[in-house]
């Protein structure tokens, strides 16, 4: 099928982008950086076509549904959101150097997706809902913002360490990166973007659950983990806003938050059981 071929090409382009971002950081050439961003954009374009094609093909098969409902589609869409949000934030905050830490994700996610069955199956009754798209999109955009915050926070820890060791080292590798203060600020701002989206994702999920199953909250593992992620970032925001938690402590909390996010997205499906059956052994 055409969509599989396009997804394959997108995976390859993401790989190329990842290599370029890492080389950009290694060789510090602006030209390389521009090409890296462009190839990431190229990956997004190809994958957009792939998703559109898969959607179209599902109609041709007489199934006709958004490609967001099994582990393969979910991962592919996650990689897409990830790349898009990263590119937007890269432009907004001028953080191309962070790319080396964030750009591997779309490739790795697509590579992992490729290990899963990718046939287009029709929807079971519970997933036939208009809430599907708004729920999935808000959650994923939120996750992607958290991922960028994770990359920035990770970089912060390196950069802050180097600034401490040698405060003035003009022209060095570390000097090439944004200042630790800027990284700290971006780490916060990306969470400030992700948090409202995660909140909307949880609320739309609760509303949908109530329409489908008659309970807006049933402490199912997915729900509970999304709440855990929400609580961690809420703790981060409270500590930062009212007590000015910055720097290392904030960066570590952001990294912990993203680890919980990844577990919420994948770990719950692969390890625990529950209502979100797009993954897992079954």
């Amino acid at each position: 099928m055409t969509n599989s071929l396009l997804f394959g090409i997108a995976t390859f382009v993401y790989f190329f982008a990842m290599v370029l971002y890492v080389s950009y950081l290694a060789f510090r050439s602006e030209m390389l950086g521009k090409v890296a961003s462009l190839s990431m954009l190229g990956g997004v374009v190809v994958e957009t076509a792939a998703i559109g094609m898969r959607w179209y093909e599902s109609y041709q098969m007489g199934i006709g549904r958004a490609p967001l409902t099994n582990l393969y589609e979910s991962l592919a869409f996650f990689a897409w959101t990830f790349a898009v949000i990263y590119l937007v934030l890269e432009r907004k905050f001028k953080i191309r150097t962070v790319g080396a830490f964030v750009a591997p994700f779309p490739f790795l996610i697509m590579a992992y997706a490729a290990l899963n069955p990718n046939d287009i199956q029709p929807l079971v009754p519970a997933l036939k809902s208009n809430w599907l798209i708004s729920h999935v999109v808000t959650c994923f955009v939120g996750y992607a913002a958290f991922a960028v915050s994770f990359g920035v926070s990770f970089l912060y820890l390196f950069k802050a360490g180097s600034e401490k060791r040698s405060p003035k080292s003009a022209g060095s590798f570390w000097d090439f990166l944004p200042s630790s203060a800027a990284l700290d600020e971006i780490g916060y701002k990306t969470i400030a973007i992700g948090f409202p989206l995660l909140t909307i994702g949880i609320v739309t999920g609760a509303f949908w659950a109530n329409v489908a199953w008659g309970t807006y909250w049933s402490w199912d593992p997915k729900e509970t983990w999304s709440l855990i992620v929400w609580l961690i970032y809420a703790a981060y925001l409270h500590a930062r806003i009212t007590r000015g938690w910055r720097g290392k402590r904030a960066a570590i909390l952001s990294i912990v938050g993203f680890a919980a996010t990844i577990f919420c997205y994948l770990g719950v499906n692969l390890i625990l059981s529950g209502l979100h059956s797009y993954g897992g052994a079954s």
Binding site: P125, W131, W208, A212, W213, L231, H238, A239, T242
Partner: protein
């Protein structure tokens, strides 16, 4: 939500220990620790599966461990006293913080320093002075026009003692209320959940096609009467060719005093609500209505046949024995362990009296009973199943509060992150050389970088006034 707001405003009068408790309840430490404890506890709840029958736990844990976990409430931990206590403490903490911040936030909203005096000037980082060769009132007109673009509200003009004038602009004053929106919304959601669990119920009911019910059984095992009747007209289950389910739907009618008030086909994502009670498509099943049974001779000729209503003992014309279709299985297990499909459990009462014989007849394998031996055997000629729809029935008077709280929470977070209370001061006077002198400065309680850029632009365009 920012550093320039006083974090603590309420003075606590009274004994020292009250002040200490108040400090504890409003401390950041308590919030952060509570949030992290709640996360940690929730993790436990996802590792130990919740609300399973007790037997299942014995498969995973030692009997001693099961007893201990059960006593600690770990198998239903989200409803255990200690988890609820943590949530209550969080609610108390939110309430205390809201009270604590109330005066500070209201003061921050009302505080309007209308004059750009020396003290205020010193506190502003972006204070800029521009001098013009234009007359004062021309500059004033331009200033109001330019500043009004970013600050659309009505500005306040004050005449200064030296004949100059002060302009005060502000925007987004009410964004300071976002604090109340985000925090009270959590309390509203809690309240909604509590109302739901105290005054609502979750119940379950099976309704056969064509039948009507007026009561349902709650999860707690209580019978709940409805003020109306629910009738299931039909139920349909459709499947894809792969066998995966495609659609479950029940055509329901609500009856009051014997008259149909509403009729609706419900599906999995499309429930029916009437008088605060909602019916969700949840499961389905079937039970035999009538079974046509034949008694067959060895040579294959039919000795007699009867259509037996399920559960009733009937005579078979031409045969002395009586028969009763007494049991039904959707997936019958054959003695060799394989699946036999639908099967009817039949009791045969011999004409001469004595013990009835029990035997299973397979719907899909009519000759199955032949293996029993004897002169005659039984077979199912036709099976009429009565389908039923399984409905989840909810009444939740607190639900509306949960959604209200959710919307308030989202709106509050958006405002808190993306809007700020901005203030702008401009003073105009004639300096000692006769030029028009403009001094401008501003503050914002959040997003100061963005505000600084906004100010830069405004100052630039003010400089270009000619």
């Amino acid at each position: 939500m920012s550093a320039d707001e006083p974090v603590k405003t309420a003075k606590t009068d009274g004994p020292d220990w009250i002040a200490k408790i108040w400090d504890f309840l409003t401390s950041l430490k308590l919030v952060v620790i509570l949030l992290l404890i709640l996360s940690a506890l929730s993790i436990v709840g996802t590792i130990i599966e919740q609300n399973k029958p007790l037997q299942e736990y014995y498969r995973f844990y030692q009997p001693g461990t099961v007893a201990l976990f059960s006593k600690l409430g770990l198998f239903d931990m989200y409803h255990s006293w200690w988890f609820v206590a943590c949530l209550s403490l969080l609610a108390l903490n939110i309430t205390a913080c809201t009270m604590d911040r109330y005066r500070g936030i209201m003061a921050g909203m009302r505080k309007r320093n209308l004059i750009l005096d020396e003290k205020l000037s010193k506190s502003l980082q972006n204070l800029t002075t521009i001098r013009y060769a234009l007359p004062l009132d021309t500059v004033a007109k331009k200033v109001v026009e330019l500043a009004g673009k970013g600050f659309s509200g009505k500005h306040v003009v004050t005449t200064a003692e030296d004949g100059g004038s002060h302009y005060f602009f502000e925007k987004g004053k009410y964004s300071r209320l976002a604090f109340f929106m985000t925090h009270l919304s959590i309390l509203i959601i809690f309240l909604g959940a509590m109302i739901g669990s105290f005054f609502g119920y979750k119940a379950y009911v099976n309704i056969f096609e064509g039948e009507t019910v007026s009561q349902v059984e709650t999860r707690a095992g209580k019978i709940q009467n409805l003020n109306f009747q629910v009738k299931c007209n039909t139920f349909h289950a459709e499947f894809y060719s792969s066998g995966a389910p495609m659609d479950y739907r029940s055509d329901l009618s609500i009856l009051q005093n014997g008259k149909e008030v509403i009729r609706k086909t419900i599906r999995v994502n499309d429930p029916l609500t009437f008088e605060g009670v909602t019916f969700y498509q949840s499961s389905y099943g079937g039970q035999p209505d009538q079974v046509a049974i034949e008694v067959v001779n060895r040579d294959g000729s039919v000795k007699g046949s009867v259509t037996a209503p399920f559960g009733r003992t009937v005579e078979i014309p031409g045969v002395a024995d009586k028969v009763e279709a007494a049991d039904y299985q959707e997936h019958f297990h054959l003695p060799d362990g394989s699946e036999g499909g639908r099967a009817i459990g039949v009791n045969v009462y011999p004409a001469k009296g004595g013990q009835p014989a029990g035997l299973w007849l397979l719907v899909n394998d009519p000759e199955y009973d032949k293996q029993r031996g004897g002169d005659t055997y039984f077979r199912v000629k036709d099976l009429k199943l009565k389908k039923y729809t399984g409905l989840q029935v909810n009444r939740d008077p607190g639900e509306i509060l949960v959604w209200l709280g959710s919307i308030l929470l989202i709106a509050g977070i958006m405002i808190a992150f993306f809007m700020s209370h901005k203030k702008l001061w401009i003073s105009l006077r004639t300096d000692n050389k006769g030029r028009s002198e403009l001094t401008i400065g501003g503050t914002a309680n959040k997003n100061r970088d963005a505000f600084a850029r906004e100010m830069e632009q405004m100052i630039q365009s003010l400089k270009e006034v000619s």
